[in-house]
Symmetry: D2
Subunit: 244 residues, 4 copies
């Protein structure tokens, strides 16, 4: 299982000091270590960033991978449209896609959703609880609900996404808001999971529940690749029953 962890923080150089203290080598590195710890040798994790050649999203690399994690924050608009279309098409062809936190506004996620993906937000000392509303979903396996995340940036409804095909988690915030924080979508052969946690100044990727969810999501998203490719090529075809 080959997994790419992508971020737009230029290996941490693009982060503010407080975030950089939390992620000295960048957020992609934090997530890569998380996945190595949780998934062990069955996964081969690499990091990619906006400063890499082809912005880290070359066609061969995407084709050779099962899952792409995306963390983005400040540089959404710098991702080039050709890379966006390459990612979108790779997902439709079977690449799993995990959008974390502010990746709700990333270009690939928005291209896959067809909507603005706007939401309400606040950095104001809220605490967040993440509830499994579908506790039997494979992404919730082994997770103690609720995940008591502690302080985190508030993300609230309305969240301008299409109705999720599977809604796994809903968060509450101490300010009173709710948020669909764990949402599954499918586009073609590709499985997509949006997961709310990940504000760069909070140590939320250390929480065992969050770690388990992300690891589960990678396994879930990668499993699409195990299935057979599309059997019938679209395009012009002959009739099945020629005698008609």
């Amino acid at each position: 299982m080959r997994v790419i962890v992508w971020s737009d923080d230029r290996a941490g150089a693009g982060l503010e000091p407080q975030a950089r203290a939390e992620h000295p080598e960048g957020i992609a590195s934090t997530l890569a270590v998380l996945l190595e710890d949780e998934l062990g040798p069955r996964a081969e994790i690499t990091v990619a960033g906006i400063g890499d050649p082809e912005q880290g999203l070359g066609a061969e690399r995407l084709a050779a991978s099962e899952v792409l994690l995306w963390w983005g924050h400040e540089a959404h608009e710098q991702v080039e449209d050709r890379q966006v279309e390459r990612v979108r098409a790779a997902v439709e062809a079977g690449l799993g896609f995990i959008a974390l936190h502010s990746a709700h506004h990333s270009k690939p996620f928005r291209a896959l959703m067809g909507t603005s993906c706007d939401l309400r937000w606040r950095e104001g000392g809220d605490h967040e609880l993440i509830w499994a509303v579908d506790p039997h979903h494979p992404i919730a396996a082994g997770v103690q609900s609720p995940i008591d995340l502690g302080p985190h940036e508030m993300y609230g409804e309305p969240f301008a996404i299409p109705a999720p095909e599977e809604l796994v988690f809903i968060s509450s915030f101490s300010g009173g808001e709710v948020f669909r924080s764990g949402c599954c979508f499918r586009r073609g052969a590709g499985r997509i999971f949006y997961f709310g946690p990940g504000h760069e100044t909070h140590p939320v990727y250390r929480h065992p529940g969050v770690r388990r969810v992300i690891a589960n999501a990678v396994g879930w998203a990668a499993s699409a690749g195990r299935h057979s490719p599309r059997q019938s090529t679209p395009g012009e075809v002959d009739p099945i029953w020629s005698t008609r």
Copy 2:
């Protein structure tokens, strides 16, 4: 538009004193007045109760109605199975069904869902906020989100229902819980809406947002009846293309 409001509180006689003070003529009466006020002369509202002949659920009455509101609490198990099946079949044939508050455990709702409809709950001074996560849904039309419900019984996840076909509202509680408090389902020609508010000791049916939601839901559920009946009778049929 003919609407039946059903309750199992024997016109208020089955309520505790505090609830009876809130609903002197019973909860069905409270809801009937609410609908008369909100819907005006275009709706013909009648009340029904567990103490009526055929438990208020005679076949002719159901067939002549567009929507059935159900409020039940203590007497779920006293509803006879033949009435349950009659209601279930009437819904499938096009009767709108609005399940309010503790009607999550009513026999007709469970029969329509196929699940236990269990949930977590607490009477403990929580405040509830109801958020429109689908603000463009007709049931949310004209509703200011969030509805600040004030004190209410907490109902929390996991809520053992099938995935709603449309999720309109999610509630947060000051104790930290979340709840899918506005859920749409369809069974055959019938539209079903579950809505959380309605604990008998709280004046929640006076809240303008709640009133609007219930009135909207009745209109939404009744609109199924405007459409044409099933064109093709199930059963044995002849081939369309006989020449094959």
Copy 3:
């Protein structure tokens, strides 16, 4: 109710002779007359085309309309990206969008779906039957199922769309194929309906069942506009419960 009928056939000038005989003033004109006949004075129908200023898709015009029908065939790639984004955003803001026949490959439809929308096809003398699998849906109201369409271009599965939120019609073809030919989606406040019939050389828009479906779909897609706009502006907000 203001409805725009858009096509890329340059008022028929872009059609082959056989299609032009069927649609002497172009397909948008055929559809406009259809809607005038079916909807009467309650709808104000205008036509638009790829040769108009701003390709017929100016911001004011979109904002002043409830529904946009789209028929496109040969000139998909000539629609400019800025118009595509304008249409996508207008749909998310509440503009109904009806994609007919080969509009499956139009840029706005693909942008709203997030997928390639590829399918299998054949021009080979197939007959098509359109079955209402959701006969209680408002779009199927008054429609005799199946619609016996007679000869039509075959469109077959797999159809590379996200799972429709409501699946209303499935077609069978005499060559043996099946196709999800009536599919509902929602993106924000906008309702989207894809409907298969419309190959330019077949007189399928004369069929009373097809006409009824298209008129129903316009009413269904326009009804989103009746509901209240989004109540909560996305962006940064204050906590509801400041005492927490």
Copy 4:
């Protein structure tokens, strides 16, 4: 993986001569051999029937199994309501349930759906093609689409089920009809798959595509059991944030 194959044909004694020639030891036996061949030693297959103690549906047996396949035809009404509720509850608790062919009218399937599950049908020499409309679904893995089933009883729309959560297969019949022949549902922890093939006088369970689908479905339905049980017990609970 423990799998129960249930039928109401009394080990073949309840079948007509033509069907008995096809299934000399009954349909449950045919299916058990199919699963042994396809799944090998990783599955432990047992048969059960309506003539067994507790109609083959004892509580311990259900609790010790991962998947229940159900084939029923003539004796639906003889299944006792207490067994029906036991099966329904076991599915909600995580037992996979595969309903084959005429099991659409079985009591457990109807109890899980909440609808009549009526359909249109014909025994008239139709041929059936089964198309994967979701070729990336695990149940379609390795299946060549379409499955050319040859002669089979026609089952057609409208099929009175709730909208499937995942629609995997649609069939066409040479008489012109279509049918949603492969449908996934979830109820609580349990996964449910309805699959159309299985008329007792046709050798459809010998078709490699059908065999693969049934084996895939057992694996898919059993995988729910791999996930952790519900973490939060429904019922009365304490607040998470007591300080509020």
